[in-house]
């Protein structure tokens, strides 16, 4: 078998990312002792981590815990525990893993995760988020606030949408003042929004590097690795420093035209979350064909920064509201996702689209057949549709998935060589 040569994004940044995440878990462990710092459970998508900085509070991200477990092949035990309690086979496995962990006292690092000061459900499109946090609140006894973010049903949010979210953000501030006994630090909050703005600029530049040929990093598998600090440290100086360093490292690679393979053969846009329990295996299936993701929708769940939007420290509440309303993939409507993918294919010069349907997540997956229809029949872009799950290891059929991927690249390969031969013939004719 030909050997697969990949240069994973494993510069110093990779280690730094690990350290940052460990620090975060360590802070959460400390908070388990006396509630200092206060902690707020939040969802990744459209998260308002800047607000927490105004209280010196730390986020808890159940989704990050769930994915960490899955990557370490530890998600099945908590999922089964949740199913024993009555959760269905077809409930989102992220939720089951998280609830199961709470039931069994499992955490990603073995350190403690505190009972949150507030369970803040930032409802940005994912209806499962609401149920999830209702259950977390019931289980932990912590107070719950559902921040209802109107769905982006038109091209832009309405004035009423923005006003509604801003009013709720301010309610959250009042609530946190009561729960933490701390006064909201406006200056610290503004600085946090400023940090976010800078991190977003850096992240956007990083994302644009994958427009180069070859791309210096994989905008799906490697981007996911970089996403942790994006959610936890976006509004902090550590985040700014981290992304500055990441940008520098990648810039060097881009200048040196160093790709992740010795030869980049295919450029892909990836849609959908990865199968975390089989992250490595899944990556290898594409690496075999020297296929590099140049863009992905999943890496924009926390925020869509590549098209110019930034948090604005001069309009902190309004810009946070805009981020939650319009600038993350989950609160945007399905057709806007088609457009996002189309832009990626065009501007990042991709050869094909890979749609990964995940059983757990109807937000991503319900209607992906129509998405495929749009891209193959209307736009003529080769699109592969594969299925598994993002968290539950029981739903990955390795041989079948590999088969589909191989067949897809066989036909792409054939098309490439046929057009190459055609061009050669034209030249010699």
């Amino acid at each position: 078998m030909t050997e697969i040569h990949t240069n994973d994004y494993r510069g110093t940044i990779h280690q730094r990312q690990k350290d940052l995440m460990l620090d975060w878990y360590h802070r959460l462990d400390q908070a388990s002792d006396g509630g200092d710092p206060p902690t707020v459970s939040m969802m990744i998508s459209g998260n308002c981590v800047e607000l927490l900085e105004g209280f010196g509070a730390s986020p808890i991200y159940p989704e990050v815990n769930a994915l960490q477990l899955a990557i370490r092949h530890q998600s099945l035990e908590p999922i089964l525990a949740a199913e024993d309690l009555g959760y269905a086979a077809d409930n989102c496995a992220y939720v089951k893993a998280d609830i199961g962990c709470m039931l069994k006292g499992i955490t990603p690092t073995g350190e403690r995760i505190p009972k949150p000061t507030l369970v803040l459900c930032n409802f940005v499109g994912c209806n499962t988020y609401v149920k999830w946090f209702e259950h977390v609140a019931e289980l932990t006894g912590a107070p719950l606030y559902v921040l209802d973010v109107p769905f982006l049903r038109g091209e832009e949010p309405t004035e009423a949408d923005v006003a509604y979210v801003v009013r709720q953000l301010k309610e959250v501030v009042q609530l946190l003042e009561k729960l933490t006994g701390r006064k909201f630090d406006c200056e610290r909050f503004r600085q946090a929004v400023s940090c976010s703005s800078e991190v977003e600029q850096l992240w956007s530049e990083i994302k644009h590097f994958s427009q180069c040929t070859p791309s210096p990093f994989d905008a799906y598998f490697d981007a996911i690795t970089l996403m942790g600090p994006l959610y936890v440290y976006r509004a902090r100086q550590e985040g700014v420093e981290f992304f500055r360093a990441a940008l520098e490292e990648l810039k060097q690679k881009a200048i040196a035209r160093t790709g992740i393979y010795d030869e980049e053969r295919f450029r892909l846009v990836m849609e959908g979350p990865p199968p975390y329990p089989y992250f490595r295996t899944f990556r290898d299936m594409f690496a075999k064909w020297k296929a590099c993701a140049v863009a992905s929708t999943y890496s924009t769940v926390g925020g869509l920064w590549e098209f110019g939007f930034r948090h604005d420290p001069d309009r902190p509440f309004e810009s946070i509201a805009m981020h939650m309303l319009a600038q993350n993939v989950t609160n945007r409507n399905y057709l806007q996702r088609y457009e996002q993918i189309r832009r990626y294919v065009e501007e990042w010069k991709a050869d094909a689209i890979i749609i990964h349907f995940v059983k757990s997540c109807r937000l991503f997956s319900a209607g992906q057949g129509d998405m495929r229809d749009y891209f193959t029949k209307q736009l003529g872009i080769p699109t592969l549709y594969i299925e598994s799950d993002l968290e539950d290891p029981r739903y990955f059929a390795e041989a079948q998935t590999k088969n589909r991927i191989d067949a897809f690249f066989e036909s792409l390969e054939h098309a490439k060589s046929a057009s190459r031969q055609g061009r050669e013939c034209a030249r010699t004719a």
């Binding site: 549709y385 299925e387 059929a397 079948q400 589909r404 067949a407 066989e410 390969e413 054939h414 046929a418």
Partner: protein, 279 residues
């Protein structure tokens, strides 16, 4: 004459086809069919050996061997592998030159393939997670009714009022069938309903592509006349069914092998085993 062999190792049966090109056209010289059983490598070897014997050609005269099917990586004596999707498209195009859509119903999976003018794969969809639309579903249904697999097709053709089957789960359809039997429905109507349900399910999958004529059916289930009829009824069009439908994957693999011999297809698609030993 250039000689090549395609070996298709399926979940239930392994097929081998020996193809020859004497410069005046490609011909199928022999075929072999064995049960796969537990030892995939042995089954593949057995199919290959039988195929050579049937053609009267010694194995060392075979210039190139391409393996396909789910067991293709276990064909240790082969030179390269291709997925069965590519092979079915190629094979169907060879045997029915106007083919633009292939519907393949095998033992464990079913697929639809959009085929280009040279037999290349333009697009494909697969159902490989569940047995609906596969030979397994039909085998199960046959067993529940105590009928042999050979009879279910002709039986379904005699349906006058096919029953409605809602479930596409191989396991749960059993209780549907038993329920209808208890209601006194005719075996013909039950089988007719089962075949129609599978046909609808398969075409539902196929509609993710643009179904263009000529439509060729491949795979083991193509031998079931009842299924062909059911598909034609739901599609509203006639299907091509080659007598070699069951060997389509092996034929396609053989064609790729011949090409490799003729060195007309250069690409990194050819994934060669480190040990390309053919004994």
């Amino acid at each position: 004459m250039r000689i090549a062999v395609g070996v298709d190792v399926g979940s239930t049966q392994s097929k081998a086809v020996l193809m020859g090109d004497d410069g005046q056209g490609i011909k199928i010289l022999s075929r072999a069919l064995v049960d796969t059983g537990a030892n995939v490598t042995r089954a593949a070897q057995s199919a290959f050996d039988q195929c050579c014997r049937n053609a009267g050609i010694p194995p060392q005269d075979v210039g190139f061997i391409v393996g396909t099917g789910y067991g293709r990586y276990k064909i240790t004596f082969g030179n390269a592998q291709m997925t069965e999707i590519s092979c079915h498209a190629r094979g169907a195009h060879f045997l029915c030159p106007g083919t633009r859509t292939v519907i393949d119903m095998g033992g464990q999976d079913s697929k639809a393939i959009s085929v280009g003018p040279s037999g290349e794969v333009l697009d494909f969809v697969m159902n490989d997670k569940c047995a609906a639309g596969t030979g397994r579903f039909l085998a199960n249904a046959a067993e529940v009714m105590g009928i042999s697999l050979d009879e279910i097709g002709p039986l379904s053709l005699r349906a006058s009022h096919p029953v409605k089957i809602a479930t596409v789960c191989t396991v749960f359809v059993e209780s549907d069938i038993l329920s209808y039997l208890a209601q006194g429905k005719r075996a013909e109507d039950i089988m007719g309903g089962v075949h129609l349900a599978i046909a609808k399910r398969t075409l539902s999958l196929a509609r993710r592509l643009t179904i263009e004529p000529e439509i060729t059916m491949t795979g083991g289930v193509a031998r079931n006349t009842g299924m062909v009829q059911a598909l034609e009824t739901v599609l509203g069009q006639k299907l091509h069914v080659s007598p070699d439908a069951h060997f389509m994957g092996a034929v396609g693999a053989g064609l790729f092998a011949l090409e490799k011999l003729g060195e007309s297809f250069e690409s990194s698609v050819w994934r060669e085993h480190a040990s390309s030993c053919r004994n």
